[in-house]
Amino acid sequence: MPSLLEFTSGDAAERLASLGLPHSKIEDWRFSPAKLLNRDYVSLDTPSVVPATGFSLEGGAQLTIVDGFIPFEQLPAAPGVTFSKVGPETVQHFEAHRMAVLNEGGASSTLKVEIAANQSVRMSIVHRGPEANGAAFTRLHFVVAAGARLELEERFFGDSSESFSSAVTLAEVGDSATFRYARMHSSAGAISHSVFVKVGQHASFASESALFGGAMSREELQVRLEGTGANARISALGVAAAKTHAEHRARIDHIAPRCTSDMRHRALVHAHGTSVFDGQTQVHQSGPKAEAHQISRNLLVDERAKVHAKPHLEIDHDEVVASHGATIGQLDADALYYLQARGIPEEGARAMLTAAFLGEPIEEWASAALKEDVSDRLRKDLGAEALLGDEIFEES
């Protein structure tokens, strides 16, 4: 069985060979189970049957990607959208970003999706990860032209804890365009998803995501606010059950003046689960009159839960309004007592308070489909469904 290095070809293979695969001595991988990348995986030839998914994705162009294979022959026809197949090395050159280079070398091609100027498009993509110890590579590139709007839903799922999935999403958001990107990850295996976004003048990028940890669920965003008045909003939710790893990494660069950014992360971490948050926002000298906020809140089910939360701001300019912080704690004992004293059994009281903690950011999401899928999943995970009711995640 080959190592991941052997999955790569072309120029990227050479770059990766000299970089090497990630390991725990590298700062960005200190808290990740990098050993999973140094295992052997089997390569997959033909995608297996397209499965039914049960996600609440309605309307717009729909696409299912199995084992990383993009169905180029069966792309949906959608007004305002042009699909094309391009080489993986296009768009952006990655020299030192190991996961981007691995993906470039492993993906045989890139699906390029262009949204024509001033068009408004909804699209959903379901990724089914490989079975057994298969490895999959997917590379997508979105171009949202000036004044256009793209609402993209993605669901990543897979049952095999032995599998590896590498996904890279590249996006350019044109002037005054909007890209709303909603995702839910629930893969049992190791998955690395890296998202690189460039945001133009007065354009907005909104990322809403929920990560249900698997062997390694690692999501990374790199957002460059390149046009004056650009805006980025990231809202990420992580749930790390026992023996799972949920990691959110985000970097926002304020390159142009008058940009705003907001990064919010919340995680629920069970005993023997690990959650990582690494947020970095840099306001460059070229980006005055910026506003930048970051917050990570972590709820530990008990003291055996592991949390690494590192919010970080770097400001090279005076005219900036900024804040950042992180909290780590367990459920409030007084609140637990109060619910029980009113007759709610302890398990139910815990479920209600946990649901309240996770429900707050969910309420703020613009994607109704993501709200629904994540709430459904949480209701099942938290138990005490009768107590949580239908409204718990919706009521303000």
Partner: protein, 249 residues
């Protein structure tokens, strides 16, 4: 006749510190008992122990409620069996709506008692009716539990919950503190509306004026972890004018 609540020689400590030191108290169905006493005497401790709050260790003595050992029941089982404590400091719970919370509470209690759960519509009707009774602003029903409520709103919310849950033993810990005169009257009326033959009440207060509204059958003075004196409502008047001096050990 079995007493509703019978406390015998109750000793309770927090950590290593004894707080209740041999407390005796009997409440029969239909009676209202007031408990007064200096700060730190152990009044809240008594109410917490009865409700089952963690951190209060019973080292000896017993508590019978409706003839059964209360102390072996969990917090939520006590609530389902009819014990309700209106807290001196109600807890705020951001992210959980007051209505959702109370419906979950009521239905959990009903389930525990083997009764049918209330539908959303039936619950809403009940909640609106009781909110009106204690003149609770309906806007507070939809807000998160006690989150950002004023001191008086929190206290009123406690009585509202009590009215909805219809407990058999109501423990009110300084429900009057922080209430303006009108609120005091409204809350007292709410409490009085709940007085009946089956229900018992234990009203903890520092102020005699509450007892003008909620007239007690018995008044106890709790000093240093024990009942120092019991009497009728005139005892409260005496304490009001003379203080606790003569009662301290």
């Amino acid at each position: 006749m079995t007493a509703l609540l019978q406390i015998e020689d109750l000793h309770v400590q927090v950590g290593e510190t004894p707080i209740l030191k041999g407390l005796n108290l009997t409440i029969n169905a239909g009676e209202v008992h007031a408990v007064m006493g200096p700060n730190g005497a152990g009044k809240s401790t008594l109410s917490y122990v009865l409700s089952g709050r963690e951190g209060y260790e019973v080292t000896s003595g017993k508590v019978l409620y409706k003839g059964e050992d209360l102390l072996e029941k969990s917090i939520s089982e006590r609530a389902a069996s009819g014990i309700f404590l209106a807290l001196q400091y109600p807890v705020a719970i951001p992210g959980v709506s007051n209505l959702h919370f109370l419906r979950a509470a009521l239905n959990s209690q009903r389930k525990e008692r083997g009764e049918e759960e209330l539908s959303g519509a039936a619950f809403m009707k009940l909640a609106r009716q009781k909110a009106k009774l204690v003149e609770l602003d309906p806007k507070l029903l939809k807000r998160a539990v006690n989150d950002g409520f004023s001191g008086g709103e929190k206290k009123r919310n406690e009585i509202f919950q009590m009215a909805v849950l219809e407990p058999s033993l109501c423990l009110l810990d300084e429900t009057d503190s922080g209430l303006d005169v009108d609120a005091l009257r409204i809350v007292s009326e709410g409490v009085n509306a709940l007085r009946n033959e089956e229900r018992g009440m234990l009203v903890i207060t520092h102020y005699q004026r509450l007892l003008d509204h909620i007239v007690p059958d018995v008044v106890h003075i709790l000093v240093d972890g024990k009942i120092a004196e019991s009497g009728d409502k005139d005892l409260a008047l005496r304490v009001e004018s003379e203080g606790y001096q003569g009662l301290r050990a």
